[in-house]
Symmetry: C2
Subunit: 348 residues, 2 copies
DNA sequence: ATCGGAATCGCATTCGTTTGCGATTTTATA
DNA sequence: TATAAAATCGCAAACGAATGCGATTCCGAT
């Protein structure tokens, strides 16, 4: 739109000086006399001059904009991350452009291309569930686009990432169940492509191993979408078994929630008959009946850290013309124990 | 960042023609011969030419970017709206820049200014809870910035808006409670500045009036933040009354949820002793115990409609140099009846 | 009075693209 | 063949700001 904003030229014309002098005066360049500076600044103030960011972006090849690619906006954890990103980006004077891949690899590709064409200064990316090839990412990295991954990261990428300690979180959750006296613990596994899925499964296995408990492979049920419906279906399958589990550790809260519904409908008690633990500590988890024990992921902090890493990378690169060495931030999870897993009735 | 992207000049140099010819060839201008067009297009393809959007924006005074100002990103309804906005913006070739006011008027002001300085083509705004003055908005409108409001709208603004029929939704919810045999219905009222608060209260009143039921003003309790905690406190206050209500209609789901907790802790049954209805149909509402009856707002559709209105306004204005007359889209709500209000046991 | 140097400031270019207008070439018409 | 008309294309300015470098002015020192 043409907003008829005042430009540096208007000020120059009015004052009978050149645009370059105005430009320098506004940035307090030593070449300019105090009187001219004063005149320029006063007129700029009076006319409410605002520099044209687009012209600046073109001139400096810098847009002060970060691109965000996220699987889904309508998702408690991810929207929390966005909020964290927005928080530090705002403070640092960056805009954020949001795109969502809708868990589609195809869409993720076009999103990344579009962000590149918008000349964002860097990208914050969390991979889609479908993503199993990485040429689109490698291509961007080859062009030198600063990128930081979060949560669902590109593991072999030579770039910074922010993750939570999924393995430890899953292990702690499982250990908690063992402590509660559970012997046959089932796991609802998440999307197979994602690294976090593997980490959580691994944490589950390690906890069992630590207590010399056998891993019953048939107690590991896949929930490739991680939805409530899949949680229900998985629980139904588990309940039909000759020797059903006495606890379920789910890869996320919706799956856990689905399992809880099935268990309750079957007339079984949570946690007495089957204890349940989820992952991510969604907004609704504390409101369930019984309240769901879950592994809390610090989403806001993750967004903040990711944005900080990216901005630092951008600014170091523009000043020193060299990429800082990639960093990996691992954020701690926190097990929130609630009634869905408290067989003993005592808090840990 | 400098990505060393190929420009129109590179193509021109390589082909020994001028940049202007390349520009015209790429846009299929009739002045250019088919042979040159072919040569240009092939080379552009080969070099993977991508136009520099920043330069385009400067030249055309159009950024193809929409600014969004939203009270909170981590909010089921609002994130759903964002998703709807993103959906149509993406299809129409627009980027969206997200800012959140965090329910602060001050932050809302700076957000809007920042978006203006970023030269967005238009803004999609939902007001903060605190917003009780509108100079910052009037100023933008005076400059001719296309704006569309959604949900929490600036009512006297001469601009398009998208709202849900809060009055009808609230009325329908209250009528439903009356139908269930409730006589003393309480209302948990929302943030006082917001129009939606008034509409919902009005709908509540109309429903009672229609059935010749008195409005007990002491049964209208304010929840200015609309949080779970306030819902709890409000319910405690109501339960202490000599003649407590037999139903509660809350301005939103968290408040309803808080009330439910208090009611259950007091040993009362929902809906037998007190029926509860919420508003917005949050993600968790169906998962409560009992599942919460709520007025569903089509958030995704709201985002879509708002973005469509804004984009149309932008494009009409740029072509015909005149603003289209403001439109107000009123989206229908839908009462989702669940167990928290079903005294009779039969669905409507 | 002359010169040197510091203090100020403007010209011209740059970023990448678009576009009015003029220039040149080719083709068609008489 | 002369001439008009059409077909192609380039020049230059524009969008708004930044900046290297050259130009000008002014002051004090000699």
């Amino acid at each position: 739109m043409k907003y008829n904003q005042v430009t540096i030229k208007d000020i120059a014309r009015e004052l009978g000086i050149s645009p370059s002098t105005v430009s320098r005066a506004l940035k307090d360049h030593p070449d300019i006399s105090p009187e001219t500076k004063k005149a320029v600044n006063e007129l700029a103030e009076k006319l409410n001059y605002q520099p044209n960011i687009v012209a600046l972006s073109l001139r400096q090849s810098k847009t002060n904009t970060l691109g965000v690619v996220i699987p889904e906006i309508v998702h408690f954890f991810f929207s929390t991350v966005i909020s964290g990103i927005e928080d530090v980006a705002y403070s640092a004077g960056y805009n954020i452009i949001i795109t969502q891949s809708n868990e589609s690899l195809q869409r993720e590709k076009t999103d990344i291309k579009a962000l590149f064409n918008s000349r964002v200064d860097g990208m914050l990316i969390s991979l889609s569930r479908e993503t199993n090839s990485f040429e689109h990412i490698d291509a961007m990295m080859a062009k030198g686009v600063p990128m930081v991954f979060f949560d669902r990261v590109y593991d072999s990428a030579n770039s910074s990432k922010v993750i939570v300690d999924d393995l430890s979180g899953a292990k702690e959750a499982t250990l908690h169940l063992i402590e509660q006296g559970c012997k046959r613990i089932a796991h609802l596994e998440g999307p197979p492509n994602l690294d976090i899925t593997k980490q959580r499964l691994q944490g589950f296995r390690e906890a069992l191993a630590e207590h010399n408990l056998p891993v019953h492979e048939d107690l590991i049920v896949s929930c490739p979408q991680g939805t409530i419906e899949e949680g229900k279906a998985a629980a139904e399958k588990l309940l039909k078994m000759a020797n059903p589990p006495d606890a379920i550790f789910a890869t996320n809260d919706p799956a856990a929630m689905g399992a809880m519904q099935t268990i309750k409908e079957a007339g079984l008690k949570i946690p007495q008959d089957i204890a349940v633990v989820g992952f991510s500590n969604w907004f609704f988890s504390s409101l369930m009946d019984p309240p769901l024990t879950s592994v809390d992921q610090p989403g806001f902090e993750m967004g903040q850290e990711a944005a900080k890493l990216l901005i630092r990378q951008i600014e170091v690169k523009s000043k020193e013309h060299i990429d800082p060495t990639p960093e990996t931030k691992i954020l701690k999870t926190r097990l929130i124990v609630r009634d869905s897993s408290l067989k003993s009735g005592k808090k840990k």
